[in-house]
Symmetry: C2
Subunit: 170 residues, 2 copies
């Protein structure tokens, strides 16, 4: 993540793409060609066979992001693209966090995990592995709380997002 990528509003872009990973290289190319960094990317199976859902979060100038979205829309492999930034949506990510843990610290770490409704999914005499799901800021906060114990490893999925269905009428 370069410095530049942190300027401007955070955008969450949701796509449906052909599950061919030539597509991935092309999508990545569109961003990097414009000097944009992708903050996170998640690609998994979509509701239809041979299709993948792809969510990208990025930061930057509105005008350039509009152009990128127009260009994404033109890619053969991209069936649907939506900028969810200005649309009510739910977004979540998943992280696995391996925390240093002596026997004495275990209870304390598990208490922190409970506060975040996180789960311990692996345990050894020297570490606990925690699974946490939530919005990015919740995951960031949890990692911040585990830091004093010592973090051995973090694996994060990047954000996935979905449009809210219910739109309140004025």
């Amino acid at each position: 993540m370069s410095e530049g990528s942190k300027k401007g509003r955070k955008h969450t872009i949701s796509m449906k793409v052909n599950h061919s990973f030539n597509a991935l290289a092309r999508i990545a190319g569109l961003f990097t060609g414009r000097g944009f960094n992708i903050d996170s990317i998640s690609i998994g199976e979509a509701e239809e066979e041979k299709m993948a859902s792809c969510t990208i979060t990025t930061h930057g100038d509105e005008h350039i992001i509009d152009q990128i979205i127009m260009q994404l829309d033109k890619l053969v492999d991209v069936v649907d693209v939506q900028d969810l930034t200005f649309v009510p949506h739910v977004d979540r990510e998943l992280a696995l966090i391996k925390v240093e843990s002596s026997k004495q610290k275990q209870t304390e770490i598990i208490q922190v995990a409970n506060v975040f409704r996180a789960k311990v999914i692996d345990i050894s005499p020297e570490s606990l592995t925690i699974e946490i799901t939530g919005r990015k800021d919740k995951v960031d906060a949890a990692i911040g709380m585990f830091e004093p114990f010592g973090i051995r490893k973090v694996a994060r999925t990047g954000t996935i997002a979905m449009k809210r269905e219910y739109e309140p009428k004025d």
Copy 2:
């Protein structure tokens, strides 16, 4: 996902990479250049700044995967690469599933969600959005159970994985 990609054993490859998404294009290129498809990919922040954790799942011939891993290891942007396939590890993914739901069907859908310890995170008169975390086969099973109600949209993160710490001694 092409037919070919489903042959051979499933591999879970965990990497630590520079958080520059030129890296992404290069990594994707290594796989597609060998005719390999990536089944899923997740890239998010790692424990160190400016680094990203990247998990790729793929299928294929052992020999070719070994070569790909050797080549990944040589990439400047790749700091660490590990094939977790033959190592005890925990793996999880996250999915958001938007299910069609009339008022009459709501209770039934929420019951299915409860069985999978999934959470309803959005509700409208015509749909429920479900958040589920687990191994890929659990998420697949849940999606299978929601299918009869009608699935509007699925967003999946792809798998993230972490080595288990405790190794039992014989």
